[in-house]
Symmetry: C2
C-alpha cells in the first residue's frame, strides 16, 4: 500500500514539474533581501507567499509567527498515524543582496533559463530548496495522506546571521518540536554526487570602523601631517594572517578539534580535488593554511576573511583625498570546538592592542554562530541516504561543510533535535554572487529524493 | 594719474561686492565635476559662462579653445601702453566630486552663506579665486584702461590632473605667452596671513587593481581554498610604509632635495604649528616621517597616500562573500628633484615584485605631475608682496605648499614663464571634502589685493 502511494507520488512529481517550476519563479520574483531595509516589505511578501503555499498543501495549521525581526512561517501537516515521526522542514525565504548588479547577465529577480539552469538570486540559496521540499510534499499530499507529521520553520533572517532565531525557537518551542529537522540549505559536491553534510563551520562576523581626522582632507595640503586611516586598516588586516596562511589571533586555534587520521582519509576521497576547486573558482592558484589539503581547509579548519573593505574615494578617476574613515567587514569561519564569543573577544582585543593612537576605532559584532558536527549514522541520515541512493543509484558522499547553518545549532541546543543536512545546489551555483543559478535536472531529482525521504522516515528500518 | 585710477578701481570694488558675489553664486551653481562623465555638459557650461564674463570685461578677444579633453577659455585685455607687461591669469573652472553627499549640510551646488562663509563645491577651489581675478579686472576696466596686458588660461581638467594641458600649452603657445602667470589656486595660511607660495609638490596618481578568483565566492564554501585579494591588497599597501612613516619604495628618497638650515628656520616661523594642524584636521594625534616637523612633512617632504580603497561588500549588514577583486587609489606627492616617471616605475616594480601568484594585478597611471620650486624674489612675487601688504598691512608669508599645480610646471617648461602663486582660500575650507567653503571677508580683501597687484605690475619698481 505504502509502496503504491510512493510510486503515485513520484508519478505526480514527474507530471507536474512545470507547476513546481512556476511556483519557484513566482517566489524568486520577490526581492526578499533581508540585509536591505528598503526590501523590508518584500521580505514580508515572501513570507505571505509561503504561508499561502503551505495552506495549499492541506496543512491543518499555518501561521506567520512574529519574532524580534523578520517573521517565521510555520505550519503543520498531520499524518494519518498519530504515532508517525515528525519532521521539521527548515528553510529561509530571504536572499543575499545582488550587488554588483552590473555583473548579472539577466535581472536577478526575473528567473531565466540558460543551458539547463535557472538564473536568479535565491535560485539555489535557498528558495529552490524550499520549493523542492514543498513540491515533494505536494506530490505526496495530492496523491494521499502524508506518511509523517510535517512542521515548517521558514525564517527570513538567515542571510543576516539569524539574529532573532534562537530566541524564537525558545519562544515557540512547542510548535517546532519534532524528531529531526530536514535542512536542505547545504549543497551537494557534484551533479552525480548526492551529499549528506555532517559538519558545519560556525560564523562570527564583524565590522571594524576606523576614524582618523574628523573629515576627509586634501592629500596635498595635509598629506604627511596625519596618518591615513586606510593605511592603518591595511596594516591591521595584514597583521591578521602570517606568511603560512594561519590566523595570528593569539589562541585562535587552541580549541580546534584536530582531524583524526580516519576522517582525513575520508575527506581525501571526496571529489573536491585541487583541480575541481581551481575550475570552480578560476583563481590563479589555490592558497591556504600550510599542512592541510584544500578540502580540509574548507571544511575542517577555521578561516578569517575580509568580506568588504572601503575607504575614501572609490569612483572613477583621481580624487586627491586623504580619507577620514576606513572600514572592513571581517568574518571568521569556526570549527568544533571553537567558541564564537571567545573569537569575538580575541578580535576586539587585537584591535584594542594594535590600533595606533592616530585613529579611533570600533568593532561591531554582526553575527556569532557556533560550529557543529552531527552524528553521521542517525535515523534521519540513514533515511536520506536510502532516498538519495534510490534516485541517483549511488551511495551519497559524507562531507563537512565550510558554510554555517545557525538553525542546526539552535535546534540542537534548545530542543536536542538533530538536523539532516542536504540540498540540491551545486558548487558552481554562484551563491552570494552575481548570476546565481539552480541546475534544474538536479533539482527535479532532489524533489524525488525528498519524496522517498518522507516515505522512508515512516517505514521501519528493517524493511529498507 | 595712475594712483587716482587705482583708488577709483578700489572704490568700485567696494561698491560692487554684491555683484561679484552674485557672479560667484552663478558659477558655483554649475556642477562642473570633471571626473564624472555625466557632468560633461556642465563642464562646458562653466566654460561658456566664463567666456561670456571675460567678454563682459571689454576683452579684445575671447575664445573657447578646443583641446584633447575639456576646452580652455582664453581671452585678452589690452593695456593702452603697448610696452606694458603681460600677465597670464590662470584658473580652472572644474571642481571635485561631491561624494559623500550625505555629509553636506546644504546642497553643494547652491551657495549658502553661514557665519561669513559661502558654502558650495568649488567656492574655494577655485571658482572663488577665478571670480576674484575677474572681479579685480572688472573694477579696473570699469573705471579706466587696464594698466597691463592680461591674458586668460582657464582650464577644465585640473581636478583630474590636467591630462591635456601640456599639449595645449604647446599648441597655443603664442596665445599664452606672457611675462608671468598669476595663479591664485594656492591658499593662504590664516585669515591674517597673506601668503605667497614658492614651492609645490608634484603628484603621481595611480589605481591598482587586484583580481583573485574569477567571481565573488561564498566565504563559507571557499574560504580557506583561495587567497582573498582584499588580504593581498592590505599586505601590499601595508608594505609601502615602514614603522617610521617613511615610504619603502627603493630609491623613493634618492632625489629628494634636502632642506637647507635657512629654509628650515623659515618654515619653522610659519604659523603651521602642530596645534594649528591638529585643530584643522581634528585628528587624534599628528603623524609623519620621523626627523621632520609637520610643516616640513607637508611642504618639503614627499608622501604616499591611499586615496581610496574598495573590495567586496560595502553595504549595510553582513554578506559572507569572499571578494574576487580589490582595488586602491594610491598617490604620491613629490618634491624637487623627484621625477614622477621614476616614481611610477618604482610603484609598478613594487607590485610586480611583491604581488603573490594568488592574484593578477594591474597598475593604471592617472596623473604624473612634477614638483616645482620657484624664485622667491622675482618681479611678480615682489608686486604681489606689495599688494598684499597694502591690503593686510603686514608682510606676506612665504611657504612651500603640499599640493600640486601642474600648470606652473608646464608654463615653466614650455615657455620659461614664472608663476606667482597665491590665493585667498584658507586651510579649513574643506577642499575636496564635504562643506567646502570660502571666507567672504578674506575673499573681498583678495579682490582688492589683486587690483593692487595689476597696478603694481605696471609701475617701475623704484616707485614702490
Amino acid at each position: 500500500m505504502r509502496q503504491e502511494q510512493r510510486a503515485t507520488a513520484l508519478a505526480y512529481s514527474n507530471a507536474h514539474r512545470h507547476i513546481f517550476r512556476k511556483d519557484l519563479e513566482e517566489l524568486l520574483a520577490i526581492p526578499s533581501v533581508s540585509t536591505d531595509p528598503e526590501h523590508g516589505k518584500d521580505v514580508l511578501r515572501a513570507a505571505e507567499w509561503l504561508s499561502a503555499a503551505i495552506g495549499g498543501l492541506g496543512a491543518t495549521s499555518v501561521e506567520i509567527l512574529p519574532t524580534e525581526g523578520k517573521p517565521i512561517v510555520w505550519g503543520e501537516l498531520r499524518a494519518t498515524d498519530p504515532a508517525a515521526p515528525t519532521v521539521l522542514v527548515y528553510g529561509h525565504y530571504d536572499v543575499q543582496p545582488v550587488d554588483p548588479l552590473e555583473l548579472w547577465q539577466s535581472d536577478p529577480f526575473t528567473a531565466v533559463e540558460r543551458e539547463d539552469s535557472l538564473y536568479a538570486r535565491g535560485a539555489s540559496d535557498m528558495k529552490g530548496q524550499v520549493i523542492a521540499s514543498l513540491a515533494a510534499l505536494r506530490a505526496i499530499c495530492s496523491t494521499g495522506a502524508s506518511p509523517v507529521h510535517v512542521r515548517f520553520l521558514l525564517e527570513g533572517e538567515e542571510e543576516i546571521g539569524s539574529p532573532s532565531l534562537e530566541s524564537s525557537i525558545d519562544r515557540y518551542r512547542d510548535k517546532f518540536s519534532a524528531d529531526l529537522c530536514l535542512n536542505p540549505d547545504v549543497g551537494m559536491l557534484a551533479p552525480e554526487s548526492p551529499t549528506i553534510t555532517y559538519g558545519l563551520r560556525g560564523l562570527a562576523y564583524f565590522e571594524v570602523r576606523l576614524q582618523g581626522p574628523a573629515r576627509d582632507l586634501h592629500s596635498g595640503i595635509f598629506g604627511g601631517a596625519v596618518q591615513n586611516p586606510a593605511h592603518v586598516l591595511c596594516e591591521l588586516i595584514a597583521g591578521l594572517h602570517d606568511g603560512t596562511g594561519r590566523v595570528t589571533l593569539p589562541g585562535f586555534y587552541d580549541r580546534v578539534r584536530e582531524l583524526s587520521p580516519e576522517e582525513r582519509r575520508e575527506l581525501a576521497r571526496l571529489p573536491v580535488t585541487d583541480e575541481v576547486v581551481l575550475a570552480q573558482t578560476e583563481a590563479p592558484v589555490l592558497y591556504g593554511e600550510k599542512g592541510y589539503t584544500t578540502v580540509e581547509r574548507i571544511g575542517a579548519r577555521p578561516t578569517l576573511e575580509v568580506n568588504g573593505l572601503v575607504s575614501g574615494f572609490t569612483g572613477t578617476g583621481a580624487k586627491t583625498v586623504l580619507p577620514s574613515k576606513a572600514s572592513a567587514k571581517i568574518s571568521t569561519r569556526l570549527v568544533p570546538d571553537q567558541d564564537p564569543a571567545e573569537i569575538r573577544d580575541m578580535l576586539i582585543e587585537y584591535f584594542r592592542k594594535n590600533a595606533p593612537a592616530t585613529v579611533t576605532h570600533e568593532v561591531e559584532v554582526l553575527a556569532l554562530g557556533p560550529p557543529l558536527v552531527t552524528e553521521r549514522d542517525n535515523r534521519g541520515n540513514r533515511a536520506l541516504a536510502r532516498a538519495l541512493r534510490s534516485v541517483w543509484g549511488s551511495d551519497p558522499l559524507y562531507k563537512r561543510e565550510g558554510g554555517s547553518v545557525p538553525v542546526s545549532i539552535y535546534l540542537e541546543r534548545a530542543l536536542g533535535m538533530p538536523s539532516v543536512l542536504t540540498g540540491f545546489g551545486l558548487p558552481d551555483d554562484n551563491l552570494h554572487a552575481p548570476n546565481e543559478k539552480l541546475h534544474l535536472p538536479t533539482w527535479y531529482r532532489g524533489i524525488d529524493a525528498l519524496i522517498h525521504f518522507f516515505y522512508n522516515m515512516a517505514e521501519p528500518e528493517e524493511e529498507a
